[in-house]
């Protein structure tokens, strides 16, 4: 019983990787790939929120940075040599801005996708954590930072096409159009592999003493400080890791959506990321991925049928989790939630007992003796 419960999520994942590309139409598969890539940013949030207790409402910054890195590279890749991306012409820009130049290099782009968000997160985090800003102040600060980035990116038409964003579909990787079905299927697999890799990374980070230190920071930071730990170093590091993961997530999401725009830094989107983790289960890692995929898939299905109702459903889901399932779906599952439901519908599972006890002659003799006493147990 306990065993299949641990394995089931993995079976689902492997099944998703092997079966779904064969049976899903390209459109659905592409959606699933996008939602899986969101699982990576959710894993990062689980790391900083579920384990370390820092609720960031600004992960969209790092997500979008990763997206823009890959977006700029693909813009350049789509061009014949010597030409500028088309939008520059609209704003009268004649020469490629200097910071675009390194994005000709796939290697630089590959690094930039995760190193740049990690650096931004590291610096931002260090300044915040050094001043011992935490709790709700930290959340507000990250949201404010998100708004700053959003407004900046929105206004920079001459640098990065402002509010219109950058399209990625028309570039070719290895001779294949990024937007083509074949390429999207490859990207789906790449996403799946990276989600598992990100999960393994988080698992490795959290299972040892480092993870214990994170939990200690969440539960009693001053105590840890008086034990000789510097929480600032831990929080900065883990925030940077979550930033890097958000960057990778954003890059994967961008290539599968065909566009990166400042909308990735919209305030509601970053809040949704937190909801995925809350619904899936804080501090469970796998719950973050499941939450991201399930909620987004539900969102796309519901939005196709009844576009107006999704926000109500999402809000209701969040309320349900906060009030009834504080540890999310995975936490509920691990704490024997299914057995409770089973018991509720009148089919209670057998409680574990000592099998040897009933067969013990001494116990049987005692039972008979009790049975012979009027009023004793039968």
């Amino acid at each position: 019983m306990a065993k299949w419960r641990t394995w089931l999520p993995w079976l689902l994942l492997v099944a998703a990787g092997l079966i779904l590309p064969a049976i899903l139409p390209p459109f659905r598969l592409n959606l699933l790939g996008r939602f899986l890539s969101l699982g990576i940013v959710a894993l990062g949030i689980d790391l900083i929120w579920g384990f370390t207790g820092m609720l960031s409402l600004g992960q969209g910054i790092f997500f979008a940075l990763g997206g823009y890195a890959v977006g700029m590279h693909l813009q350049l890749l789509a061009l014949p040599p010597g030409e500028l991306p088309e939008f520059f012409g609209l704003y009268g820009v004649k020469a490629l801005p200097a910071f675009w130049q390194p994005f000709h290099s796939p290697l630089f782009t590959g690094l930039c996708i995760w190193v740049l968000p990690a650096l931004v997160a590291g610096v931002l985090g260090y300044l915040v954590f050094r001043n011992r800003i935490k709790g709700v102040y930290f959340s507000i600060l990250t949201q404010a930072a998100l708004l700053v980035f959003f407004n900046f990116f929105n206004g920079q038409q001459k640098l990065i096409n402002g509010t219109n964003g950058l399209k990625t579909d028309t570039a070719r990787i290895f001779g294949e159009l990024v937007g083509s079905d074949a390429m999207q299927r490859n990207l789906f697999w790449l996403t799946l592999v990276l989600v598992v890799a990100a999960w393994a990374l988080c698992r490795w980070i959290t299972r040892g003493r480092f993870g214990d230190a994170l939990i200690a920071i969440r539960d009693d930071e001053p105590r840890l400080r008086f034990t000789g730990y510097n929480p600032t170093a831990y929080k900065t590091l883990v925030f940077a890791i979550a930033g890097a993961m958000a960057g990778v997530s954003g890059a994967l999401y961008t290539v599968q959506s065909g566009i990166v725009s400042p909308q990735y830094m919209a305030v509601p989107f970053s809040i949704e990321m937190v909801i995925w983790v809350a619904v899936g289960g804080r501090g469970t890692l796998i719950g973050a991925v499941l939450g991201a995929v399930l909620i987004n898939y539900a969102k796309s299905l519901v939005s196709e049928q009844l576009p107006e109702t999704w926000l109500f459903i999402q809000g209701g889901l969040f309320l349900l989790v906060v009030t009834a399932l504080p540890d999310g779906l995975v936490g509920w599952w691990r704490q024997g939630g299914p057995r409770q439901i089973q018991a509720m519908v009148g089919w209670p599972p057998l409680a574990p007992t000592y099998p040897g006890l009933d067969l013990d002659p001494a116990v049987q003799a005692e039972r008979e003796a009790l049975g012979s006493i009027p009023g004793g147990a039968p």
């Binding site: 200690a216 034990t227 929480p231």
Partner: protein
């Protein structure tokens, strides 16, 4: 009035702490000899906790200096002070509830506390042995793998003391170690603290007068942020100033009865 003549391991020199004009500590002088066991008592609001906050770097003194093994602790961050060798047990037991006692101790055990050494390096056999040994010392071997949050109050107190020992500090600052403990647990805690003195310098803050008498050590009485008197328990209890401070405060419960009994 210090017991030992050797150079003090920890010394507070004319320390004052002012919170918006209120003097929590007022010209406090105190020195601890290496290996000494010292009890600090005082009525509520005497500044006992602020006194620990100053030593451990949580509160910066408005005036004065704190010297530990020849260097000033002023302006040094809490975690660095802890690493220098000053360990602190809090008034209410503060253990990491969601970790097991073993993992609590593994976090506290002496060694590098840098993020990368926790990430890439495991515990060495010496540290592992130390954790196991401490679990035995505080009688938590059987509970080593359950959540620390599910331990009883007394077990949490002991776990926190074990965490303190795991740090292997020069100075142990122990704030109310027997609050809420049974008589037997109190006795064992007293024996444990006495056995630690010698190798470590132990400073105990306590309300329980019987417990302090049991410790059989020099006592410092704090009152309104400064040292009222110092000396053996008997001398302190017969000091008219101490009696006045304790008896002058009405409804002060435990302290009253303790002092009164022998006064």
């Amino acid at each position: 009035m210090t017991v030992s003549a050797s150079t003090p391991v920890l010394e507070l020199r004319q320390v004052s702490v002012s919170f918006d004009g209120f003097l929590a500590l007022n010209d406090l002088n105190l020195s601890l000899a290496p290996g000494e066991l010292r009890a600090v008592i005082g009525p509520n609001g005497a500044g006992k906790t602020t006194f620990l906050d100053v030593i451990t770097g949580k509160v910066r003194p408005t005036k004065g200096d704190v010297v530990f093994r020849g260097r000033s602790l002023l302006g040094i961050a809490e975690h660095r002070i802890a690493r220098l060798g000053i360990g602190r047990k809090f008034q209410t037991p503060r253990v990491y509830q969601n970790l097991t006692p073993r993992r609590n101790l593994e976090l506290a055990v002496k060694g590098s506390h840098a993020p990368f050494s926790l990430l890439f390096g495991g515990l060495d056999s010496r540290q592992r042995d130390r954790v196991q040994q401490l679990l035995a010392v505080v009688g938590l071997e059987a509970h080593a793998s359950q959540r620390a949050g599910s331990l009883s109050h007394g077990q949490k107190q002991w776990l926190e003391i074990a965490m303190l020992l795991a740090q292997d500090p020069y100075v142990l600052l122990v704030d109310e170690p027997v609050a809420g403990l049974s008589e037997e647990e109190t006795e064992r805690t007293g024996a444990l603290l006495r056995s630690l003195a010698g190798d470590h310098t132990v400073l105990v803050i306590e309300h329980d007068m019987d417990f302090i008498r049991e410790l059989d050590c020099p006592v410092t009485v704090l009152h309104e942020g400064h040292v009222l008197c110092e000396g053996p328990m008997d001398a302190v209890q017969s000091d008219p100033r101490v009696i006045e401070v304790y008896l002058g405060v009405e409804d002060s419960g435990v302290e009253d009865s303790g002092v009164e009994a022998d006064a």
